[in-house]
């Protein structure tokens, strides 16, 4: 067969038009690389947050657009990027895979599994920066999310869709509260997402093991960007966690997301901003540090369509000073805060919740009627106790009434003490607080209060199953039930004390 050169040329021309089926791609050239960020000349039509691909295989996200160049942060630290390397636009902003198969897995900030198990099946790809649901699609917070921690459930109740900040010094038990809240969700049909930002790997490994031991991985996803990760990954991790939470929320599920902690997140963003030469403001944080967290936490809530996202962000303070920049920002964004006091912690009180400085702004509406009935005056009593306690330390002789208050306060504090990973369901908490409200604990020595109350719960559970079940089901404490409980308590006191 004869092939003419003109045939070959026309074939080549046709192939050029057809074979790739794409237009010219917009490219840029790497001009500077350093600290996992690079400045790229070109990419004049790139948009903020767009993902770019380096010819050498690395990927990045554009986070600064300037007149002649763009600044991108690299997604992979292990793939080298060279000067004058070609960079292509992808035309899309950064997306992560989401899917129900992520439950029980430990993933990184890019939603890639890091637990050494099989790849995760992807259901869809979602952008990490999503539109915030408007007020018309939001529902009031009226359903309680139990943490299993009595001092929180009784005094600072958290509703589904609420954002409750956990704030405190280093090692005051912030993570423990969040972990216990996750462990308590077993059987509650709540998906938990634990986002670890800038933590030590050994800590995270311990937490994952703990979840595994308590069977919490059956409903939990762990997103990790440890201290060794790049600033970009530490910056992305909470948004990744939130994107996964939104996926489950859209499926109609209730989600509890823990951000541990947003101080490290702010530090990662500060690092990136300084590398991008953005003007540093207070404490060298950039001007949009408030928006960094507000746009993250505003994605939580209870929604008319779908389920809810309850957020428990954490923030670390120095020297119990909650007036620092990031803590005050977060306090103003969230619907309340649980302040963990280092003095209480050092005095052996667990959880070391400072009752005066803690608040839950919306959770009250979500608290069950039974809990409201038994815990209504608790906060006031505790505050008075702490005031009196401070006063008594001056060596002043106190009158009988004050002494009685002090004794009662000590019992309240003892009752609210809880060991790590020991959680109480709602009905148990109501029974214990009922004893306190009805003064049955006044005759018990402070150190025996907790033990006595727990025994009472066991007694009701085993002997008065119907009453216990009714309390559990109705979540109410009717007058008749209160009467019956009073009789049971008297009966129990006779058995135990006498």
């Amino acid at each position: 067969m004869d092939i003419k050169s003109t045939d070959l040329i026309s074939l080549f021309e046709q192939s050029l038009t057809n074979m790739a089926g794409h237009d010219f791609e917009e490219i840029g050239l790497v001009m500077q690389v350093g600290d996992l960020s690079c400045k790229i000349h070109g990419l004049m039509n790139a948009v903020y947050g767009e993902q770019i691909v380096f010819e050498g295989g690395n990927k990045g996200i554009i986070l600064n657009l300037e007149e002649n160049f763009v600044t991108a942060f690299l997604l992979y630290a292990d793939i080298p990027v060279s000067e004058l390397e070609v960079v292509k636009r992808t035309g899309g902003v950064f997306k992560i895979p989401v899917g129900t198969a992520q439950i029980g897995r430990v993933i990184d900030a890019q939603a890639r599994p890091i637990d050494g198990m099989q790849p995760i099946a992807v259901q869809e790809m979602r952008t990490v920066e999503a539109d915030i649901v408007g007020i018309a699609q939001r529902s009031p917070i009226n359903e309680s999310l139990e943490t299993g921690i009595m001092v929180i459930d009784a005094l600072f109740p958290i509703g589904k869709g609420q954002r409750e900040l956990i704030i405190g010094n280093r090692t005051t038990g912030k993570s423990s509260i969040a972990i216990d809240a996750v462990l308590h969700q077993k059987g509650n049909n709540v998906i938990c997402i634990y986002v670890s930002i800038g933590q030590r790997q050994v800590n995270l490994a311990r937490i994952v093991r703990l979840f595994e031991q308590h069977g919490a991985l059956d409903y939990t996803i762990v997103v990790s960007a440890d201290a060794a990760e790049s600033a970009l990954n530490r910056y992305l991790a909470p948004y990744t966690g939130c994107t996964i939470a939104e996926f489950f929320k859209d499926l109609g599920r209730d989600v509890l997301i823990i951000y541990d902690d947003l101080s490290n997140h702010a530090i990662a963003y500060r690092e990136m901003s300084l590398l991008m030469r953005r003007a540093p403001g207070r404490e060298a944080y950039p001007g949009d540090i408030f928006y960094l967290h507000s746009r993250l936490l505003e994605r939580a809530g209870k929604f008319l369509k779908g389920g809810s996202i309850t957020a428990l962000p954490m923030v670390e303070v120095q020297g119990d000073d909650i007036t620092a920049y990031i803590p005050t920002n977060l306090i103003s964004i969230t619907d309340g805060q649980i302040f963990l006091d280092s003095t209480l912690f050092n005095n052996g009180i667990r959880p070391a919740v400072n009752v005066e400085l803690s608040v839950s702004r919306v959770g009250g509406a979500a608290q069950t009627k039974a809990m409201k009935r038994v815990a209504a005056a608790l906060r006031l009593e505790l505050t008075q106790y702490h005031d009196l306690l401070a006063f008594s330390q001056f060596g002043t002789e106190l009158d009988a009434i004050s002494q009685k208050w002090l004794a009662r306060g000590a019992r309240i504090v003892e009752l609210l003490q809880q060991q790590q990973h020991e959680s109480y369901i709602f009905a148990d908490q109501v029974l214990m607080l009922f004893l306190l409200k009805e003064n049955f604990l006044d005759a018990i020595g402070p150190k025996q209060v907790s033990h006595f109350a727990r025994q009472f719960v066991s007694y009701v559970q085993s002997v008065y199953k119907n009453l216990y079940q009714e309390l559990y089901d109705t979540k109410e404490l009717s007058v008749a039930m209160q009467e019956q409980l009073r009789d049971i308590a008297k009966e129990f006191c006779k058995i135990v004390v006498v």
Binding site: I27, G28, H41, E67
Partner: protein, 178 residues
């Protein structure tokens, strides 16, 4: 060359083209291109442009002398004086690069480097010219290069655009997939 210098040079280039753009011919652009090539080949000879303590007049005279060799003295004299006055003769070659790039952009000319593993004959060149002009709507100025790394196929790379259909590109896509 830092990005700041490129940005600054771009501003001088735009200002220059606004005033003298109408006087520039394609031959002049070609001569400007030769000047840039000369400047890049003789970086060490032009190093004194980077030294701040040297007299700006001496630097300007040197540049004017070089420009006269390329027949560009009349065109560039005022630009050189302005750069000397601003103490920015060190970015002269970058400014010329930016003038060429912007002139080409304004007049719909696109510079493309066509890389292939094997030499292409003239007929193939014509096809590629036609292809680029159809795809970009601009007049193509192509430099043909041979690079075995392409393996097979061609790569067409301009200042800020790329079109590639090669085995190397497909291998890269395979290694970075997933």
């Amino acid at each position: 060359m830092t990005l700041q210098k490129i940005g600054l040079a771009g501003k001088y280039a735009i200002a220059f083209l606004r005033v003298f753009g109408g006087n520039i011919t394609l031959e002049m652009v070609s001569a400007l291109g030769d000047l840039v090539v000369f400047g890049k080949k003789n970086v060490s000879s032009l190093a004194l442009l980077q030294i701040a303590i040297f007299d700006a007049r001496a630097k300007a005279d040197l540049i004017k002398h070089i420009c006269s060799k390329f027949g560009l003295n009349d065109l560039l004299r005022q630009l050189i004086d302005l750069l000397a006055q601003h103490g920015r003769l060190n970015i002269f070659i970058t400014v010329i690069e930016q003038i060429i790039a912007r002139f080409q952009e304004w007049y719909g000319i696109i510079e493309i480097a066509c890389t292939s593993a094997q030499p292409l004959d003239n007929d193939a060149h014509d096809v590629i010219y036609r292809f680029i002009e159809r795809m970009t709507g601009k007049q193509a100025k192509i430099t043909f290069k041979i690079n075995q790394d392409v393996i097979a196929g061609i790569r067409l790379q301009g200042h800020d655009i790329l079109w590639e259909y090669s085995i190397a590109q497909q291998l890269r896509a395979l290694t970075t997939a997933g």
